[in-house]
């Protein structure tokens, strides 16, 4: 195709041939100039109503049935009908082929923007970022959702809607604690184990020295302490994936209930990378659409009018209101992400002295896309910010760090965008995106197998933030219903003091379920 192959479309109307032309033009820029690597694209045109539907099933094209999605739908419909909420221009699904939903009422310019943004920006990120590679299976997700939907429908038929609903309610309550945060242990392999055991024996034999026998040892562990340790090891404790623990060890769950816990757990795991990469994901997509749209305009395939229309919605998307603005609701991931991507491009191509000092590895390297592709593949929000947030951007956003200690009289301004504050601000901002800090750290620590089979959990309290009481009781109630024996949770601060203890007994009905 020639570089100036005429306009892609005229005016605001589009048809399916135009979509095809737009896609091909975007693809040319994305693959040849930006060097992106994407899943095959599938573009689906939907209506506003279908968009609302998609919203309430977490954006997935097919999902099992549950009342909570209906609740969300009712809520969003109310807002939408009142005109309080606009709908997104697109939804994109991390699957292969990568499905992007386009709203039918978008103008041709918006469709171009959306295709560049979702079908190439997000798509590249999904395919290349290490978190997505590690945790999600883009080829299998749609099939898995189909399986989940049918399986749960079958369970409802066989065991009754109510029983399934109760299980799902409980599983949803624990969803945020149904995630493996670290790549799974490799399965033990018998031959490797034997070899390891042999090696160790050989080492012992070669290093044998009878003198060691005469060295006094510490206190021998009592038999009960040993058995407790052994029990915890057998149960795989401590375990922070509560759903996994229940699925494997809850004593009285039916097989279908275990399968439902597993489904909820898998879906939570599938969404886990998305929550960790909001800034990067949106930053990548926004940067990509900006590059593609600008290139199309340069080639003359987008008219000036259409390009202005694009710029207007682009600036809306990357707008970051200040903290004292009415519209402020935290950092806008589009704004922060896009600004950081552009900043990296600048550092790589036109660095100044400060950049050379702060980013010696990438400053002046010349090939911006290579650096960016590497960043997109190997970082998540937390590490991305702590590595690449430059002093220039901190000045640009006029960032400052507040320290709010309820025991003090006021809120302390701990750092501002100056030489003394750069590193502190960057560290704190990165921490704001660290899932380890966002989610409460709750673990299953033990089960009282000899006594009343109580399940014991522990919340490690960080910075004095305890659990919200009503919600915690409700979640523990769900947990107890699944466990079918008492459940206790202690909140322990960093020095080991118990701050609060909850004990919840299962409701009678669920034991029979």
């Amino acid at each position: 195709m020639t570089a100036t192959g005429g306009r892609l479309f005229e005016g605001a109307d589009w048809d399916f041939q135009a979509l095809q032309r737009i896609h091909d033009a975007c693809e040319e820029v994305a693959l040849d100039e930006l060097g992106l690597e994407v899943y095959p694209n599938q573009i689906e045109v939907i209506t506003a109503e279908q968009m609302l539907d998609a919203y309430s099933s977490v954006g997935m094209p097919l999902f099992y049935k549950h009342w909570s999605f209906g609740k969300q739908f009712a809520h969003q419909e109310t807002f939408y009908r009142k005109g309080l909420m606009g709908l997104a221009y697109e939804i994109v699904i991390n699957s292969s082929p990568c499905i992007s939903y386009l709203m039918e009422e978008n103008t041709a310019t918006m469709q171009t923007l959306v295709i560049a943004h979702a079908a190439f920006g997000h798509n590249h990120f999904f395919k290349n970022n290490y978190l997505f590679k590690q945790w999600t299976d883009a080829d299998g997700i749609l099939d898995y959702l189909d399986f989940a939907k049918n399986y749960i429908a079958q369970c409802e038929e066989r065991h009754g809607r109510l029983a399934v609903e109760m299980t799902l309610d409980a599983a949803h309550a624990l969803m945020s604690h149904g995630i493996d945060r670290y790549p799974g242990k490799k399965k033990l392999d018998l031959r490797a184990e034997e070899k390891r055991a042999g090696d160790r024996r050989q080492h012992e034999e070669s290093a044998f020295n009878d003198l060691w026998r005469t060295v006094p040892t510490g206190k021998v562990k009592t038999r009960s302490a040993l058995s407790a340790e052994r029990r915890r090891t057998l149960l795989g404790l401590p375990q922070e994936n509560i759903l996994y623990f229940l699925e494997k060890t809850a004593p009285r769950l039916q097989p279908w209930q275990r399968e439902i816990l597993r489904i909820v757990r898998h879906i939570a795991q599938y969404f886990y990378p998305q929550s960790q990469t909001k800034v990067m994901n949106e930053g990548t997509a926004t940067y990509v659409h900006y590059r593609i749209m600008s290139r199309l305009h340069e080639q003359g395939r987008l008219s000036d009018g259409n390009f202005l229309e694009f710029l207007q919605s682009h600036t809306n998307v990357v707008f970051q209101p200040g903290f004292d603005d009415q519209r402020f609701s935290g950092f806008n991931p589009y704004a922060l992400g896009f600004a950081m991507m552009q900043d990296i491009e600048r550092i790589v191509t036109k660095p100044d002295e400060e950049d050379r000092e702060w980013f010696p590895d990438i400053a002046g390297k010349g090939d911006a896309m290579a650096v960016l592709r590497d960043v997109w593949a190997n970082y998540r929000d937390e590490s991305f910010i702590s590595q690449f947030l430059s002093p220039r951007l901190m000045r640009h956003f006029r960032m400052f760090h507040l320290h709010d200690d309820p025991t003090e009289a006021g809120i302390l301004v701990d750092a501002i965008h100056n030489e003394r504050g750069y590193r502190r601000i960057r560290r704190e901002l990165a921490r704001q995106y660290d899932v380890g800090y966002i989610d409460p750290n709750i673990e299953v620590v033990d089960v009282d197998l000899a006594g009343d089979r109580r399940l014991m959990l522990r919340h490690a309290v960080v910075k004095g933030a305890q659990l919200q009481e009503t919600d915690t009781k409700r979640v523990l109630q769900h947990l107890a219903d699944l466990w079918t024996y008492d459940v206790s949770l202690v909140e322990v601060d960093t020095s080991g003091n118990v701050l609060k203890e909850y004990v919840v007994s299962p409701r009678a009905v669920s034991a029979a379920a």
């Binding site: 399916f16 979509l19 095809q20 896609h23 693809e27 599938q42 573009i43 689906e44 045109v45 939907i46 109503e49 279908q50 539907d53 309430s56 099933s57 049935k65 009342w67 999605f69 209906g70 609740k71 739908f73 809520h75 419909e77 109310t78 609903e165 969803m175 209101p321 200040g322 903290f323 004292d324 402020f328 609701s329 935290g330 950092f331 956003f397 006029r398 960032m399 400052f400 760090h401 507040l402 320290h403 709010d404 006021g410 809120i411 302390l412 301004v413 003394r420 504050g421 704001q432 989610d439 919340h459 960080v462 910075k463 933030a465 305890q466 659990l467 919200q468 919600d471 915690t472 409700r474």
Partner: protein, 424 residues
């Protein structure tokens, strides 16, 4: 790249989830409706619209943290320098708002359509005892699948069944397969031995003849789907609304009665398609009126309950033969009746009305001053009580306040496991 046009796909994918949600929220929504119905106009209440329900039963709990020391980095610094201490109260201090925190706790708001609303509102109510069922001719016949038949219209051929039978027959009669014949032909073509050729040719001939004899599909095999027309029972009912609109009825009492009938009206038009409603209002004479006049038309005069009963009896005779209709009646009055009329009223009721009605409810409306138990028994109340004691199937309730309308209504029309003699 594929482009898929999904716009024509069936919408309302969330409908089922929405219904599940409503089912779960039913008790809460009903509670909310009951509460508002005491204050608001019933007509408005039944219009549906936005409802707010407490989040209690609908909560989706998660482990959440609150309190503690917090650190945040936010943009837009204009004048602060390191070490400033900002006052905690007031937005100027710069603590960012927390979306979703305050909003979620108290109530959950959403919009119900009118149908959903009325459905929930009248969910556990039922017209009492629709025992007598009358099969009406028109629009009540449905077709039902009823197995297979050997004759019928070509449009109804069941291909699956036909082919199955044909296959069974071909197997049973050992119709040679096409491959067998092809093999033989091939063998014949290759064979050089003359004797053998003759044998093969004969065999082939026999097989081909057999194929001709035994058809692939025989008329015997053909089956048609059979449909039966099943008459669908349709219950017809007529509901008589009788109301005293005489001068002794205060506006408040009329309002109570109106509310009761409005509920009744919504309930009936909602639940049964074949329900006719007759509005009869009376002073010292009765007339049949349309709905609007019944509720809103002005009238005044004395009180003769028997006139309304006589009018109802006439209408029943003229238009609603008891053999064809289930007849229900609900009467609202302040209880005043002239003493001379008692005899006629009781005779009309026991001889003409009660024998043909399934259900007769009497609602006595009183002034707001006294509770229902302070009201002295009115003449009509005592009369009906006497009749009830003698075994007449009457239901009676007293109402003096708006808030009692719904409970009384619910009580009268509560869905019962089996018919139960209503005694007040």
């Amino acid at each position: 790249m594929y482009i898929v046009d999904r716009r024509l796909n069936p919408g309302s994918k969330s409908l089922e989830n929405r219904q599940r949600f409503l089912r779960r929220a039913k008790a809460l929504v009903q509670g909310a409706v009951k509460k508002t119905s005491q204050e608001r106009d019933i007509k408005d209440v039944l219009e549906g619209g936005e409802v707010a329900i407490p989040l209690d039963g609908m909560a989706e709990p998660r482990f959440r943290r609150e309190g503690g020391t917090r650190d945040m980095v936010i943009p837009g610094n204009k004048k602060f320098i390191e070490g400033d201490v900002l006052p905690r109260s007031g937005q100027s201090g710069g603590s960012p708002s927390e979306p979703g925190e305050g909003d979620g706790e108290d109530a959950f708001r959403f919009v119900l359509s009118r149908d959903e609303f009325v459905d929930l509102f009248l969910d556990d109510l039922e017209l009492p005892d629709l025992a007598k069922r009358r099969l009406t001719e028109a629009e009540s016949v449905t077709l039902q699948r009823a197995g297979y038949t050997t004759s019928g219209s070509p449009a109804n051929i069941s291909i699956g069944r036909t082919v199955r039978l044909a296959l069974a027959r071909r197997v049973a009669l050992r119709r040679p397969r096409r491959e067998t014949i092809a093999e033989l032909e091939a063998a014949l073509a290759e064979c050089i031995d003359d004797d053998r050729r003759a044998v093969l040719a004969a065999e082939l001939e026999a097989l081909k003849a057999k194929v001709k004899r035994i058809p692939f599909i025989d008329p015997l095999d053909i089956r048609f789907r059979r449909f039966e027309s099943v008459p669908k029972p349709v219950a017809q009912a007529v509901m008589f609304c009788l109301m005293d609109v005489s001068g002794s009825m205060s506006e408040h009492m009329k309002d109570l009665a109106k509310r009761f009938y409005m509920l009744l009206y919504v309930f009936l038009t909602r639940r049964y398609r074949h329900v006719e409603i007759v509005f009869i209002r009376h002073t010292d004479r009765a007339e049949e009126v349309d709905e609007n006049t019944f509720f809103h038309g002005p009238a005044s005069g004395g009180t003769l309950v028997s006139s309304a009963l006589a009018a109802m009896s006439d209408i029943v005779r003229a238009r609603f033969s008891p053999a064809d209709w289930n007849i229900y009646a609900a009467q609202a009055s302040d209880g005043d009746n002239s003493y001379a009329d008692s005899e006629l009223t009781s005779r009309l009721l026991t001889e003409m009305i009660l024998p043909v009605t399934q259900f007769f409810a009497y609602l006595e409306v009183g002034d707001t001053s006294g509770g229902p138990f302070d009201m002295p028994d009115s003449s009509l109340w005592s009369l009906y009580q006497r009749l009830q004691a003698e075994g007449a199937p009457l239901s009676m309730r007293k109402v003096s306040d708006r808030s009692e309308i719904f409970p009384v209504f619910k009580d009268l029309f509560h869905r019962r496991a089996k018919q139960e003699k209503v005694a007040s």
